[in-house]
C-alpha cells in the first residue's frame, strides 16, 4: 500500500485530534541522473486533500521541496463518527487515495 495513516481510533466530540500520514513517493526533483546519464523527470505530489465525512478539512500544495516519502502531520476537530479520506495527485497524473475511520463519542 502506498501510505500509512495514524489517527486515534476514537475521540470525544469537539476534541482536537492529530492526523499523520506517510506516503511512499520519490518526490523526484528532476535533477537526478540515472545510471546511464538520463535525467529522471521531475515528479512530485502536487496536491493533497483530506476530507472528513466528505467535507474538506485540510489541503496542501506540495513540491520537490518536500522530502521523499512525504510525511504530513496536521489536526482537525472530532465532529462525528465516520471516515477520513486522504487523496493526492503527482506530476505524472497518478491518483491515489486511502481511507481511515474514526468513532466519535
Amino acid at each position: 500500500m502506498t501510505a500509512r495513516v495514524q489517527l486515534p481510533k476514537e475521540a470525544k466530540r469537539g476534541e482536537v485530534i492529530r492526523v499523520r500520514i506517510l506516503i511512499q513517493h520519490p518526490m523526484e526533483t528532476g535533477f537526478r541522473l540515472d545510471t546511464d546519464m538520463k535525467k529522471v523527470p521531475k515528479n512530485a505530489i502536487r496536491s493533497f486533500v483530506c476530507t472528513y465525512n466528505g467535507v474538506e478539512i485540510f489541503r496542501a500544495e506540495l513540491s520537490p521541496g518536500i522530502a521523499a516519502n512525504p510525511f504530513l502531520q496536521f489536526s482537525t476537530v472530532a465532529e462525528a463518527s465516520g471516515e477520513l479520506e486522504f487523496s493526492w495527485v503527482d506530476d505524472a497524473g497518478q491518483r491515489e487515495a486511502v481511507r481511515e475511520s474514526i468513532r466519535v463519542a
Partner: protein, 150 residues
C-alpha cells in the same frame, strides 16, 4: 540582492572568489521580497507565526520542520493558509497548507528538502486578510571546498 548569490553559483565569477562570511551569506537572502511576491506587495508582520527548523542539518535531503500560528481558529479569526518559501531551492514555493476553522489548531509538521544552507520563510494568511511571517536559517553542513555554496 539574491542575484549576486546565483551569479556566484553559476560561474566561478569574481564574486565567488570573494568568499562571503556566514552573516553576509544569510543577509543576502531577500525574504521580504519573496513575501511581497505572494502578498502582492503587502509587507507581512513578524509575529504569531513560529517556524521551527534545526540550526544544523547534516544534509538537506530530509529536514524536520514544524510551523504553527498563534490563532483561536474560530470562524471569525483563523488561519486560511500557511506557506513555506525558499529562496535557494529551484522551486520557491516549497508547500502551501490550507487550514480553516475545522483544523482546531494551526500547526503542521513535515520533512523538507533544502538545496544547501538557506533562510526559509513561513508566511500565514489570516481570515482578516492580514499576513504574518517567521524565518529560520538552516546551515546544511555538507561543506564544499569551493566558493559560493555557503
Amino acid at each position: 540582492m539574491n542575484r549576486r548569490l546565483f551569479v556566484a553559483l553559476l560561474l566561478g565569477s569574481p564574486l565567488a572568489a570573494r568568499a562571503q562570511s556566514r552573516e553576509e551569506f544569510f543577509a543576502s537572502f531577500d525574504s521580504e521580497g519573496l513575501v511581497k511576491k505572494v502578498t502582492g506587495g503587502v509587507a507581512a508582520k513578524h509575529g504569531r507565526v513560529r517556524l521551527v527548523l534545526p540550526l544544523l542539518a547534516d544534509n538537506g535531503n530530509s529536514v524536520e520542520m514544524k510551523v504553527s500560528v498563534d490563532s483561536p481558529m474560530s470562524a471569525a479569526d483563523h488561519v486560511m493558509s500557511l506557506r513555506l518559501l525558499s529562496e535557494r531551492n529551484p522551486e520557491r514555493d516549497m508547500a502551501v497548507f490550507h487550514l480553516g476553522p475545522r483544523a482546531g489548531v494551526a500547526e503542521v509538521q513535515s520533512r523538507v528538502r533544502l538545496a544547501g544552507s538557506q533562510r526559509v520563510v513561513a508566511l500565514a494568511e489570516m481570515s482578516d486578510g492580514s499576513w504574518w511571517m517567521d524565518t529560520a536559517d538552516v546551515v546544511v553542513t555538507l561543506s564544499a571546498c569551493i566558493d559560493g555554496t555557503g
